[in-house]
């Protein structure tokens, strides 16, 4: 077995994050996006390093691009990135910065970090795949999944895309909102309600519960876009 086959499990993610951030296993486990990103790459998305350029691959767009250590760790665990690339992250010459750059990071679909950009790009990606009639071998549409933070939802550009996607019925688009209670003024009635009003199918789930996340992403949701609100404990 090649050595790169090591560090491929969920349990290895803290060690991978440790390569970037130092040996702080407890803080690593607290990364709010870690479980969502892991479940997506491990059990939901049809994309591998071998199919990373396949037009019919599923897309994962990390809109919440700040604090990307969990994302890089999952990419490394899944073989998109060399584990050795994690060392020296944020150094000049490293492909891995505090905000991912799609041109530099294998497996990253977008460059992100500035809040409020990923969801409109995801909408365009889903519409583009539809306009090109891109299909998987089984005839279904590839999925486009974008991860945003609840604080990020404050940005108005998201609401432009949420409304348009709902009205255009873009069923291949999924938004996962990692809700750690960081939106300053909050969302009366809850985040899911917001999406629901715009015509999205919605699900609320504990953001650390892998089976619940898997079910939320995969249980049939009809032809509307899908919003999954994944609650995690607020970071202090």
């Amino acid at each position: 077995m090649p050595t790169t086959a090591a560090l491929t499990r969920y349990a290895d993610l803290p060690a991978l994050i440790g390569l970037m951030e130092g040996d702080e296993k407890h803080s690593a486990a607290a990364h709010s996006t870690l479980d969502v990103v892991w479940v997506l790459y491990d059990r939901v998305l049809a994309v591998t390093p071998e199919t990373a350029d396949d037009p019919a691959r599923d897309r994962f767009l990390l809109s919440k691009g700040h604090g990307p250590a969990a994302f890089y760790a999952v990419l490394a665990a899944k073989g998109f990135l060399d584990v050795s690339a994690l060392r020296g992250w944020t150094a000049f010459g490293s492909a891995l910065g505090h905000h991912p750059d799609r041109v530099l990071v294998p497996g990253a679909e977008i460059g992100s970090g500035s809040l409020g950009h990923g969801l409109p790009i995801a909408l365009g990606t889903a519409l583009g795949l539809r306009a090109r009639n891109v299909r998987r071998p089984d005839g279904s549409e590839p999925r486009t999944v974008v991860l945003v933070g609840d604080g990020e939802l404050d940005e108005g550009s998201n609401h432009e895309a949420i409304a348009a996607a709902g009205r255009l019925g873009v069923g291949s688009l999924t938004t996962v909102v990692v809700d750690n209670g960081s939106a300053l003024h909050g969302w009366p009635g809850g985040i899911a309600r917001r999406f629901e009003l715009e015509g999205w199918a919605t699900r609320e789930v504990q953001g650390r519960d892998h089976d619940a996340l898997h079910a939320a992403f995969t249980r049939p949701w009809g032809d509307r876009p899908l919003a999954v609100v994944a609650r995690v404990r607020p970071t202090s």
Binding site: P55, D101, R102, V103, E109, I110, G111, S114, G116, H117, L119, P120, I121, A122, L123, G124, T125, A126, L127, G128, L129, R130, A131, R132, V134, G156, S157, E160, A161, A163, A164, R167, L168
Partner: protein, 299 residues
């Protein structure tokens, strides 16, 4: 120019399955037929200009060729960060096509004017910027831009020259000066006719371009070398001095003088009226250009 744009893009959509039009209500009627013929390829997002650029970025990432269109202030100024990040930073291409450049929408007031659009785009790497001076030039520019993958800004105007010129992508001499001439005048897009008229009695070389980025530095350098003086007057329909740094780069190897005409940077013109009224107020009518040229070329 706007009608030619609508017709040319609609025609091209019949042959090129990569083409998609992204709109925020403006000009939607122009693309109604194309929308019916090509389901899913004319995307009107409603009045959502940030999502318009973000959506274009996503389309480009799937291999589509998005054409994005609105009034200049809504296409360039409002979603400027989207232009920087959702297109440029993603290394994704699109063709942005604006109407209402500078003061075309004179009677609408400041809200519908964007004389800074080209200067803003010019802060971002990798953009080609076309400023056609005639509807036929719009067609030629689109013929080149639509099949590509790069980032192109096309700035349409309600003002045009009487006749189109063949487009080389660089500076073309429209009226040569003598070997002892006072210098070179560069007229951009719709400014050509009035510039020719304003400089009719001067011994200067008048050159034209409908493409300002990349700027034809080598062409300007050659024209200046063949001229009697290294004096260059730039006449642009948008923010004054937008291409001044290009002239400086082009002539960095010699002592030279330069003058930029355009919409003033230091004042907001609070007046309505017509584009001609605004041109007069900005010194961009024939009389204003003529006066500036006589002062600058010391005749």
């Amino acid at each position: 120019m706007r009608e030619v744009f609508g017709a040319a893009v609609s025609e091209a959509m019949d042959d090129d399955p990569r083409l998609a039009v992204v709109l925020a209500v403006i000009s939607a009627g122009m693309f109604r037929r194309a929308a019916a013929r090509h389901p899913g390829r004319v995307i009107d997002l409603g009045i959502r200009e940030q999502a318009m650029i973000g959506t274009a970025g996503g389309l480009a990432l799937t291999g589509m060729r998005p054409v994005v269109h609105s009034y200049a202030p809504f296409l360039v100024e409002r979603p400027f960060e989207q232009i920087k990040l959702d297109l440029g930073h993603q290394d994704a291409g699109a063709v942005l096509v604006s109407i209402g450049g500078s003061y075309d929408a004179a009677a609408e007031g400041r809200t519908h004017q964007a004389p800074g659009d080209v200067a803003l785009i010019d802060t971002l790497p990798g953009w080609t910027v076309h400023v056609p001076g005639h509807a036929d030039e719009v067609r030629a520019v689109l013929r080149d831009a639509l099949p590509g993958d790069d980032r192109v800004y096309i700035r349409l105007s309600g003002t045009a020259n009487r006749a189109p010129l063949p487009l080389s992508g660089g500076l073309a001499v429209v009226r040569p000066g003598s070997a002892r001439s006072a210098g070179v005048v560069v007229a951009v897009g719709p400014m050509l006719d009035r510039t020719l008229e304003a400089t009719a009695d001067l011994d200067v070389t008048v050159a034209y371009t409908a493409t300002v980025r990349p700027f034809d530095r080598a062409g300007l350098s050659a024209l200046v070398a063949a001229s009697g003086n290294a004096d260059v007057m730039l006449v642009e329909p948008y923010l004054r001095g937008t291409s001044a740094h290009e002239v400086s780069e082009a002539l960095a190897d010699r002592r030279h003088r330069q003058l930029s005409l355009g919409v003033p940077r230091d004042t907001e013109l609070r007046a309505y009226g017509t584009p001609a009224d605004h041109a007069r107020a900005h010194g961009l009518d024939v009389r204003g250009i003529a006066r500036a040229a006589r002062d600058f070329f010391l005749v």
